[in-house]
Amino acid sequence: MSGTLASPSARSTGGSRATRAVLTAERRLFLREPGSLFWITVFPTALLVVFGSIPSFREADPDLGGLRLIDAYVPVVILTSLVLSGLQAMPPVLTGYRERGILRRMSTTPVRPASVLAAQMALHGAAALGSALLSLAVGRLAFDVALPRHLFGYVIALALAVGAALALGAVVSAVSRTQKASNAVGAAAFFPMMFSAGLWLPVQAMPDLLGRIMELLPFGAAARALGEAAAGDWPSWQHLGVLALWAVLLTGVAARWFRWE
């Protein structure tokens, strides 16, 4: 009797112990990749510093409703870190794990390889969020960019954007059979994604039709939602909805097509 009562709890502690062990190992491995860490956490803020050093970026722009370009670029560099993390850094890791039989080896243990996928998403998501905090802090301290005025709306939009970026990365891992292929797909998707996020021209300053198209893409919608929350409004349901739809759709595609071997 006590045995039957004890067994499920023993099982659940065993499960969480295993999940922690996977997360610990993957965190150590993540910290052993200085290249990825630089691109995710340092590069976006460095980009912000470069933009902020250009005098014209610090002048109020009537196209942006009186905002300065540097104000509009804080969300853009935050989205850059999401794209670098979810789309550039994570897919080669996951595809490589599959290609080299690491996920298969784990399938022969009581732990499912999905725990590695979850750990990778958590780590890349956390690194991107850390990078976002750094960008906000540097923007505030160095260039006097106001912190998000609607903090809750900003957090919601950011969380959805992280979800969409990680799901997009999982889709890239799912459709790429080799690590090389996932690098290539990630690189090909990088510039369109960054364009839609507004790296060349903030979405709100784009010509009308182009702007409307970009708002239907995940990072275009994210840029608008973050911009609205930064300005103190609750992000429009249209942008949040587009973002949520992409996150759900991409997660579904990844779950449908991802192969463990």
């Binding site: 023993a10 099982r11 065993g14 112990r17 295993a18 922690r20 062990a21 996977v22 610990t24 190992a25 150590r28 491995l29 052993r32 990749e33 794990y97 080299r100 039989g101 690491i102 298969r104 080896r105 399938s107 022969t108 243990t109 009581p110 732990v111 071997e261």
Partner: protein
């Protein structure tokens, strides 16, 4: 395993039982009606040429593949439906799998031992496998032999009742291969059943209590190594260098001879047959006043038996 005691073997009950297993890929049967039982405590060999269906069969045992038909039981459990329970008592070493390149030996052992409810202490295990000095080394920096020893350690760290070792010694140098054989014997001595997949005859002959010879998705024979050699039509090999060149046709009609071959370089002749053939060869040579230099009569190896068993269908 209640109800599983079909065979009254002294060794014990079957820990792995496979019945009429079939697996088809692209319309081609890769495993075509395979049945066998591995008794607890034995080293059971799975021997066959590349592409014979060995790996697919053991992958069904490990729960990595779902059989098209037939049944697989590990300690009475279904590897697919009871995945968690089966993986807890079956340790696996896979052909061509790796670990994360920058993961150290210690980290790999720590992580894998956390996967199991009742793991063994990995420190003495690592010592026993000669990895004690390598705990801080990253996987990518290990030699082939060290990687294989780490995979054996990971297969054992959960305290399994049975381990499946697939092509464990492929790619190892002869020295590392012999060390690995000793390890496998140690593993069995510690009470763990071993299912060993190999295409090395010498390895199977040296280590296995019983061997299933698999060819084209079917079990061609299942016996002890000496039983397999004994049942082969040619269990004796006669070789000699004749004092004058001897044409192969002069040796035609030797009783029980299965094959006759002449080495083109030194004219050495090799005849596979039985004791009866030995006498006939000696009589033939004497009658023709031929001296046989370096005459050798040896028992056939598993190699010869294997070619004999798989030759018919090849």
């Amino acid at each position: 395993m209640p109800g599983g005691g079909r065979r009254g073997d002294a060794r014990g009950m079957a820990i792995i039982e496979v019945r009429d297993l079939r697996k088809v890929y692209g319309g081609r049967p890769v495993v075509d009606g395979v049945s066998f039982a591995v008794e607890e405590g034995e080293i059971f060999g799975f021997l066959g040429p590349n592409g014979a269906g060995k790996t697919t069969t053991v992958e069904c045992v490990e729960g990595l593949r779902v059989p098209d038909s037939g049944s697989v039981r590990v300690a009475g459990l279904d590897p697919v439906a009871d995945h968690r329970e089966v993986t807890g008592l079956l340790g696996a070493q896979l052909q061509e799998s790796e670990l994360q390149a920058k993961l150290t030996v210690r980290e790999a052992l720590e992580m894998y031992s956390a996967f199991y409810d009742r793991p063994v202490d990995w420190r003495p295990l690592a010592e026993r496998l000669g990895l004690g000095e390598k705990l801080g080394t990253r996987f990518a920096k290990l030699s082939g032999g060290q990687k294989q020893r780490l995979f054996i350690a990971l297969a054992l760290v959960g305290g399994p009742r049975v381990v499946v070792l697939d092509e464990l010694t492929t790619g190892l140098d002869p020295r590392a291969r012999r060390d690995t054989w000793q390890l496998i014997e140690d593993v069995r001595a510690s009470g763990v059943t071993v299912l060993l997949v190999t295409h090395f005859m010498e390895e199977a002959q040296r280590l296995c209590d019983r061997i299933a010879v698999i060819d084209q998705g079917r079990i061609a024979a299942l016996d002890t190594p000496s039983g397999l050699i004994g049942r082969s039509a040619s269990n004796t090999v006669i070789s000699f260098t004749p004092s004058r060149p001897l044409a192969v046709h002069e040796l035609d009609g030797l009783p029980a001879a299965v094959s006759v071959a002449t080495d083109e370089k030194d004219g050495r002749i090799t005849v596979n047959g039985t004791d009866e053939t030995v006498n006939a060869v000696i009589t033939l040579l004497a009658r023709n006043h031929i001296t046989a230099h370096q005459l050798r009569v040896v028992d056939a190896t598993l190699d010869d038996a294997f070619l004999d068993l798989t030759g018919a269908s090849a």
